[in-house]
Symmetry: C2
């Protein structure tokens, strides 16, 4: 079998826990970028950058396209989907829920 291996798999939520990585993702919203350009101005060593990219990759949030000696990174819709959906699941939960809270408290009898 060939090897477009996903390699290690990492929790996307852990991946976006780091502010630097979120900034990198934000940059990629503008379109694909060469690895080196992603952290431009971030005051980050090249190896550190590379490590962050690896984590984002393993989390499935970005993907790479090799082009000569450069790697073009871009957001990976598939991987982002999970995060987006998870967050969205909290979008419209509480209209009636606060009601429940009040009821619960009331039941406790402290009007």
């Amino acid at each position: 079998m060939p090897e477009s291996s996903p390699g290690a798999v990492r929790d996307p939520f852990q991946a976006i826990a780091d502010p630097t990585r979120r900034a990198m993702l934000a940059r990629l919203r503008g379109g694909a970028l060469r690895a080196g350009d992603i952290a431009e101005g971030f005051a980050l060593s090249q190896p550190a950058l590379s490590k962050h990219l690896r984590i984002l990759r393993e989390a499935g949030l970005v993907r790479v396209a090799e082009s000569g000696r450069e790697r073009l990174y871009s957001l990976d819709p598939a991987g982002l989907r999970g995060v987006i959906d998870w967050a969205a699941s909290f979008e419209a939960f509480w209209p009636a829920r606060l009601e429940a809270l009040g009821a619960h408290l009331r039941r406790k009898g402290d009007g």
Copy 2:
């Protein structure tokens, strides 16, 4: 002034990085719960649970209502907003962007 102090402030993204805490948040989607009930079945010590709750609190993702000796936790829409919006910001970014990368990338396919 009294003290409904926000206390320490914590990165919400770091808060949701932990699977246990995400599970707890998920539970709270069903409405407010007593601290002890939130992790029911999680195989987690009480102190550990309490610590997770503290983190979620400091991240502004949940809030507490004291009721006697119990604390009723519920999701905090305000705090969740940030995460939701951040995630949503990646919802519709790539329609034309990948185009710039080249057809090269497209054949990668993303289900």
